[in-house]
Every structure is written in structure tokens, then in C-alpha cells.
């Protein structure tokens, strides 16, 4: 039920109503509303019950294991929330003078330094508001670099077929033609396909490493050399940075630009359309083009760096400097961990994924790349199960909800039929992983003994299996009276 459907004329939450009549005098008459806006009219109790009920229907990392591959759904430490919500941060105006915001600027400066250090890049800008915007900014900088050299023949971006769909979308948004290259049987980029694709027309290569297949590109140094020798640049999609945090630096692999999803790797709240944040890091070639503002320090005083000092900057992408509340949470998270803690993230994320992969394999699940060690995630394919029983990856995913687990990513990457992309993240205990394996075992048995139970799952949620085809064909996004 929508909050609008609780609405009754005249009902109001008086305790939160404005206490004084305030009118703005400088809005032109023709822009003033003739009728009041159609807001729901509910009491305070109705509003509280409505939103509490919604939160109870929600599946979240605070209540359930959430092994959503390529999304890094890890626990969000409460300390990050409480410190980022100190009144001094909350009530700081984004246009306040630098000398009254030295503490905040210090946090942002140190976050830039930490991200530089952990990725091996030369400079970091915190301004992108989400992963997709980080990508857009990254490729826009690649474009600015080639154009600044008068090199206009570079019209193509190379992208492996295992990439996130946002990569080709970004390249096209920046005016490039996408050249897709294939993956070999072990999940690595096909080097012959890459050699055939690079040339004087190559603007760059976009790569996720470890890839969405959950494997580390073994030939990354060679790939980097090939693209650079052809005059192209390398873009690192940071979606899977969690697997290598503090262990391997994208800068050392030869990447020229990277975006980092703070809502994944740096544990800021994630999902439900919540605020994302995707700082970009650049190596030497792209330094002149970095988006502003960034924070610097002169003689112990923190200050903004703007277009004046970076005249070739590709510009501004958020009203002030990114999602400051999210950036603060990531900063606090980094400081809680320290350098040693960051190593432990990569180690435990990888250990958890490999443990889960082995246990599911023992339980009878087919691993898509059995010869490879998993990075922080791995793929199970249910192709055989579907042939034998008609049970699909979607059925298994829905049944997992009944067992108290959020489903893994399904049907992505597209290369692997009937796949589940599973990422446990480092914050889960062995007990949680074991109980997930037990539930998966039960579901596998049910596929043979009671397939109908799976076909009609979930059974324990307030809504049963939704008709996603109808939803996609007949989009209905607006509430109408």
C-alpha cells in the first residue's frame, strides 16, 4: 500500500507543521501554485507505521546475508554513521568559508590521499556522485587527453564481453564506438582478439580486474603494454576492487584512470537507490584533466583547488564536491581499518569466496571456471540442472529468499548460462557461509523431489513471484489518483 492510499483530507502531523507563517516574496506570481501540491495527508502514527512496515518487508544487509555478486554488499559499520553525523558535519554549509571548515576539508584531503595510496594513482577527485558518473568522467578524461594532443583519429573503446553493461554505455555516451572482445575458456581476455582490435583508432580499453567472471586477468601487464604501445589508455572499472584492496594497485598494472565505488569497497550504504559515490583516480597522463574541486594543503591550511589552477579540467560534475556524507563515511571506514585492515579485506573476501566455492562444489553445484581460484566472487552454472529438472537459476534464487538469504546476482555475466554470481564479502562468518551452503544443498534436493516448491517460490514474502515480463512491458511508474 502506498502512503498516498493512507491519505485522508485534513489529517495532519501537527507536531511537525511549521510554527510560523513564512512567505517568500520574490517568486513571480505566474510561477506560484494555484492549488496546493497533492501530498499525502496522514497522521504521525500512520506515517511511522507505514515506513516501519516497509522497512520490515525489506531484505537488507542489516538483517540477512546478501551475496550479490559484483555488488560487494558488506556490513556498514555503525561508527561510520555516527561519526559522519556529528552536528559539526551535518550543519556545515557547503559554501562556508574554508577557514570555518578546516576539519571537514582535512577529512576530504586525507581521503584523497588514502585512495591515491591504495590504488597507486597520482591524483584523486572525489566529485563523482555514483559509479556510472565516475565511468563517464573517466572516459571523458580519456577523450580530453586525445583531443588535447590533436589526436582525433581515435574513435574506438575496446571492452571485453564480460564487462558490466555500464562500460559500453559510457563509451557510447562519450561518443566512442565500442569494440567488443571475447573471453577464452579460462575466463581471461582473449589476447589474440585484443591484438586484432588495438590500433591507431583505439582511444582506450575498459577493464574490470578481477573480472565479472570472478577471475584475475593473468595477462594484465601484457594487455597494458599492447594498449599503451598503440597509443590508447587503460580504464579500470573499480567494481571489483574489494578483491585486491591493499594487495595489488591498479596504478602498478598500468591503468591510467580508475573509478572506485565507495558504496562497495569502502562500505558506505548501498542499494535501494541510495547515494552512491565513485571517486576517480588518474595517473600522470590524465592529471591536467581531473574534475574539480579537489582539496589541497598549503602551509598547514586546507583549501579548494578549482579551474583556476587546473585550467584543462573537464569541469564540475556535482553542485559542490560529491556526496559529502558518503565521502565522510568512507573516510572513517578507511581510518578504522588502517593499511593493515585493508590487506585483511582482500584476504578475507578472497578466502570467503574460495571457501564457499569449494563447499558448493562439494555439495554438487557446477562451478563455471573450476580451474581458477576465485577472486572475491565466483560463478555457479545451473545449466545441467535446468536440462535435468527444468529448474532455472531464477527458481533457485527465489527459493533462497524463503531460506532467509538474499539471492546472488542471476543471469550475469551473460556469457555463462543459468548462472549465479556469488560474492560473500569479508564481513561474513564461517557459520553464515555454512548455513548458506546447507540451504543450497536443500534446494538442490528439492529440484528433484519437489520442483513445484521452487517454481512457485518465494513463499514467505508478502508478495509472491512477480510477473517481471508484464512489469517490463507495461511500465507503470507513477501513482495516479
Amino acid at each position: 500500500m502506498l502512503i498516498f492510499e493512507h491519505s485522508r483530507p485534513g489529517r495532519c502531523n501537527y507536531s511537525q507543521s511549521p510554527t510560523a507563517e513564512t512567505r517568500t516574496s520574490n517568486i513571480p506570481q505566474n510561477l506560484m501554485r494555484k492549488k496546493p501540491p497533492m501530498l499525502p495527508e496522514v497522521s504521525e502514527m500512520d506515517a511511522v507505521r507505514h515506513y516501519t512496515r516497509l522497512s520490515q518487508k525489506n531484505f537488507s544487509i542489516d538483517t540477512e546475508f546478501y551475496p550479490l555478486g559484483s555488488c560487494t554488499m558488506k556490513y556498514n559499520p555503525r561508527a561510520c554513521n555516527s561519526l559522519a553525523m556529528l552536528p559539526q558535519f551535518l550543519s556545515r554549509h557547503p559554501l562556508a568559508p574554508e577557514d570555518t571548515g578546516q576539519g571537514y576539508l582535512a577529512c576530504m584531503y586525507e581521503l584523497q590521499e588514502i585512495l591515491k595510496d591504495v590504488t597507486g594513482m597520482k591524483s584523486v577527485s572525489l566529485t563523482p556522485m555514483a559509479g556510472a558518473q565516475g565511468e563517464l568522467i573517466g572516459v571523458a578524461m580519456i577523450r580530453a587527453y586525445h583531443e588535447s594532443r590533436g589526436d582525433r583519429a581515435r574513435t574506438e573503446i575496446i571492452i571485453p564481453d564480460a564487462a558490466h553493461g555500464t562500460n559500453p554505455a559510457t563509451a557510447v555516451m562519450c561518443g566512442y564506438k565500442v569494440v567488443e572482445i571475447s573471453t577464452d575458456k579460462e575466463g581471461d581476455v582473449d589476447m589474440d582478439a585484443l591484438k586484432a582490435a588495438v590500433g591507431p583508432q583505439t582511444a582506450g580499453l575498459m577493464l574490470t580486474n578481477p573480472s565479472t567472471l570472478g577471475v584475475f586477468e593473468k595477462n594484465i601487464v601484457e594487455m597494458s603494454r599492447l594498449v599503451h604501445e598503440a597509443g590508447g589508455l587503460l580504464y579500470y572499472d573499480g567494481a571489483n576492487l574489494n578483491a585486491i584492496l591493499g594487495k595489488v594497485k591498479p596504478g602498478d598494472m598500468g591503468f591510467d584512470v580508475i573509478h572506485m565505488n565507495l558504496h562497495k569497497t569502502f562500505s558506505t550504504p548501498h542499494g535501494g537507490g541510495g547515494p552512491g559515490s565513485a571517486p576517480v583516480g588518474v595517473a600522470d597522463r590524465l592529471l591536467p584533466f581531473i574534475p574539480v574541486p579537489v582539496v589541497t594543503i598549503d602551509k598547514g591550511i586546507y583549501r579548494w583547488v578549482t579551474e583556476k589552477e587546473i585550467p584543462q579540467s573537464i569541469g564540475r560534475f556535482s553542485a559542490h564536491m560529491g556526496n559529502s556524507g558518503v565521502l565522510l563515511r568512507a573516510y572513517i571506514y578507511s581510518r578504522l581499518l588502517g593499511a593493515e585492515g585493508m590487506h585483511r579485506i582482500a584476504e578475507f573476501a578472497t578466502l570467503n569466496a574460495n571457501y564457499l566455492m569449494k563447499e558448493l562444489s562439494k555439495a554438487g553445484f557446477e562451478i563455471a571456471y573450476p580451474n581458477r581460484r576465485a577472486s572475491h566472487e565466483f560463478i555457479v552454472t545451473l545449466k545441467d540442472l535446468k536440462e535435468k529438472t527444468g529448474i532455472t537459476a531464477m527458481d533457485v534464487a527465489k527459493r533462497l529468499i524463503d531460506k532467509g538469504f538474499h539471492a546472488p546476482t542471476t543471469y550475469f555475466p551473460l556469457l555463462v548460462p543459468e548462472c549465479l554470481l556469488i560474492e560473500p564479502a569479508e564481513t561474513e562468518s564461517k557459520e553464515t557461509l555454512d548455513s548458506f551452503v546447507l540451504s543450497m544443498k536443500e534446494i538442490l534436493e528439492e529440484a528433484y523431489t519437489d520442483p513445484e516448491m521452487l517454481k512457485t517460490a518465494p513463499h514467505t514474502t508478502s508478495l509472491q513471484r512477480l510477473d517481471d515480463v508484464k512489469a517490463a512491458r507495461e511500465l507503470d511508474l507513477t501513482w495516479k489518483q
Binding site: 543471469y411 551473460l414 548460462p417 517481471d468 515480463v469 517490463a472 512491458r473
Partner: protein, 129 residues
């Protein structure tokens, strides 16, 4: 799987039919629609557009993914299937009768580059492993 012998095929899972009047009708194969799942949207090139063999020219979108469709041979698009815009599910119901567009080939020799049903069958078998 039903792979009619009177049709030609591409590696990228389009089917191709040479009509008696020398035009060519094309669509996506049963295998392709099965991989994609329930169709929700189809974008077809406009009549009059000149296509080059292998060019991306249409998009089929399902609940799982959006996929490019490639021109099996070069030529001019002469007519498109008007039904698919409002009823993309026809591709799932019968991929071989739910054609996407008809083309007036500029080089009929290109048909020789395409696969026959047994070659296409082999491609499907090799993809299965």
C-alpha cells in the same frame, strides 16, 4: 531443436530466408530467443536504411538482457514487421515466423557466407560446451 533446413543462419544467431522474388527475410533463431528469455522490446531498422553485412542494425531486449542483432547480408531494408513493436512476445512464441525485416540484397553472393542448418547445429553444439 528445430533448425529448418530451408533457412540459412549466422554465427550470431540470425536466420535468413531467400524469398522467391529475390528479397531476403530475417529474424533471430529459436536458440537466440531461448537464451534471452521473454522479450519486452524490439528495435528494428527503418525501411530505406542501407545495411552492410555484419553491421549492428537492430536490438532485442528481454527481461534478462539487451542484445544487438546483426545484418546477415548487405542491402536496403524494404519492410519491417509492424507486429513486433506492440507484441515482441511473438518472437518467443515462434521465432521463425516472427521476422524482423526484409532486405533487398545488394550482393546476393553474400548468402554463400552464411551457414546451412547442419553447420549452425554444430555451432550450437560447440557453444554448449
Amino acid at each position: 531443436m528445430n533448425i529448418p533446413t530451408h533457412l540459412k543462419y549466422t554465427k550470431s544467431h540470425e536466420w535468413v530466408k531467400l524469398e522467391e522474388d529475390g528479397t531476403v527475410t530475417t529474424g533471430i533463431t529459436i536458440h537466440a530467443q531461448e537464451l534471452l528469455g521473454d522479450m519486452v522490446f524490439v528495435e528494428i531498422p527503418q525501411a530505406g536504411r542501407h545495411l552492410k553485412q555484419g553491421e549492428e542494425c537492430a536490438v532485442v531486449e528481454s527481461v534478462k538482457a539487451a542484445a544487438d542483432v546483426y545484418a546477415p547480408i548487405s542491402g536496403e531494408v524494404i519492410t519491417i514487421n509492424p507486429e513486433l513493436e506492440s507484441a515482441p512476445e511473438k518472437i518467443n512464441e515462434d521465432a521463425h515466423s516472427a521476422w524482423l525485416y526484409k532486405i533487398n540484397p545488394s550482393n546476393i553472393e553474400e548468402l554463400n557466407d552464411l551457414l546451412d542448418s547442419s553447420e549452425y547445429q554444430k555451432i550450437l553444439e560447440s557453444e554448449a560446451h
